[in-house]
Subunit: 330 residues, 2 copies
């Protein structure tokens, strides 16, 4: 594979730093590396492959350099402003924000699910919402096998999803200090509130899970609802997933179908108290699935419990996997 | 109302102590009070209505005294053994364990929902599972108005539901000490595992929610599934509830229907970040309902977020409310 000139925008954030770690771990073929962040983080020193890099302030001329791929993870406003500038210069943008995800000419990719969608990108490729990434990995083979009719999501989301501010609110809250990132204390509490509220009463996070699942699975007929909840866990999101299929299934076949996928680890031995949990999944790149059981309240119903590292597979790892797909064609 | 001779079995436990507090708060007409616990807690001194009581060890002659009502909260094994002994002596047993809940001649009562079932008790009345108590309070008026077809529960349950051991595991876990009550650490983690696992892959807690909801709402045609999860919250259970009704509804009418019930507090002003949360509900006796919104993925679908104090309304308060019903007929 050709060596790639790479930019990371938002390099000092939690996802940005993890992107650098994962590029190293996966031996991504980096030629030149440019690290950008806001004025506040300018001149931060970061190490990549034993070499020190100085973080530069992002500005309109940041993309005048010879860059092949830019990984953006600096929030929606930065992406809205700078992704078109980078794209204009012929750079492939892989964007972790929600800014471009639902645009018709922007593919929304989870490589285990719809890597083929890379074919029709137009300069910008979106990295999906963290909860959506982890849940579509097991949903895809099940949808192919049994055709999903309806999904009910209830999430148990970690504070790392809100970046360093989320972690600080939890750590400070445990020490009885007050919250800054969240509207309410998160220590020993749970907030049925992630991202802003929309006019329909749903949060933006809930609508992302609904809309992005349909786009990634390329099926607008899917009927989906969601309740997304922040809980006092540091890292790794968990999701209670209730599914209704068109076709009937045998539970043994569901297990086989999930186990065949190398992005999935089935962890389901309840007699020995084995099921996916945030503290065990932390630091991994697979999606863990357990508590697999028939839902007898509906025809062809199934319940799943899905856990993944939201900073790695839910953000950084998935972005690097997309970069690997994009790099193949360079 | 006649003054009642009362026994509390399991008086030194978290629920037992809260029962004493609530009897005081509600000015329950206590004549003599007998406090029982295991040998380990024998001779513990507890105060009720400014008077000191010595806890006695429970044994087969504990019910030879002149007792009208015995409130049991000492686990299923104690209830199985001692409730029939108490009943034999003409004592009305109000049992907080799961031992008798599904017996045909044992009413399972949430006073806001099915107080009339007190009429057919046979000496033992069961107090339902904590999660079930809190959720049936809002389900009852909605079932009466729109007839529920199907329910999907996902719970977010506090460690106080496991008694003092649960609280200790969370507090110790925060200090990086190891767990004793749970099979895994609960600090910064969540466990999709409450009570034991059954042969069908569900936990006993999940089956309690399914079976007890049907019994309390007196409707075996209800189709219900559940995923129950322990989270690192000290007190108050939260439940994500997805409902499908037979009849169509207007959201405004759902609000009115819930607000009319004095056991319910509707807390749903998302534009001002107001929704039910464990830290605010702690210490209260009502069931808090918020995030009320139409689920467009199914005909006549509705999502709710339901929070209550699992030690008070989910156990002690509900038991005392049942005792008040029973005392009326004495």
């Amino acid at each position: 594979m050709k060596k790639i000139n790479l930019a990371v925008v938002g390099a000092t954030g939690m996802v940005g730093r993890t992107i650098l770690k994962i590029l190293e771990e996966r031996s991504f073929p980096v030629n030149n590396l440019y690290l950008y962040a806001s004025a506040k983080s300018k001149n931060t020193k970061l190490t990549f492959d034993s070499k020190e890099y100085i973080v530069e302030e992002l500005n309109e001329s940041s993309f005048d350099k010879n860059i092949d791929i830019a990984l953006f993870s600096a929030g929606g406003d930065i992406s809205k402003k700078y992704a078109p500038i980078a794209k204009e210069k012929g750079i492939i943008v892989i964007d972790n924000s929600s800014a471009w995800r639902m645009e018709k000419n922007v593919p929304l990719i989870v490589p285990e699910v719809n890597s083929g969608d890379i074919a029709w990108h137009n300069g910008i490729i979106s990295n999906p919402n963290c909860s959506t990434i982890q849940v579509v990995v097991p949903l895809k083979p099940l949808h192919d096998a049994y055709k999903i009719k309806r999904i009910v999501y209830s999430t148990y989301q970690a504070v790392s999803g809100s970046g360093i501010g989320g972690i600080k609110d939890l750590e400070n809250g445990i020490k009885c200090l007050s919250n800054e990132k969240y509207p309410h204390p998160i220590a020993y509490n749970c907030l049925p509130h992630i991202d802003i509220f929309m006019d329909n009463g749903y949060t933006k996070e809930e609508m992302k899970m609904i809309d992005e699942t349909k786009k990634i699975l390329n099926d607008d007929t899917l009927r989906i609802t969601a309740t997304t909840v922040r809980i006092p866990v540091k890292n790794c999101h968990s999701i209670s997933v209730n599914l209704e299929f068109e076709k009937s299934f045998e539970l043994d076949d569901v297990y086989s179908c999930l186990k065949e996928n190398k992005g999935i680890i089935v962890q389901d031995d309840v007699k020995n108290n084995i099921y996916p949990m945030p503290i065990n999944v932390d630091g991994t790149d697979q999606v863990y699935v357990g508590r697999i059981r028939r839902d007898l309240s509906v025809e062809n119903g199934l319940n799943l419990w899905v856990v993944a590292d939201n900073i790695r597979k839910g953000a950084a790892t998935n972005a690097v996997q997309i970069a690997e797909l994009a790099a193949k064609n360079l």
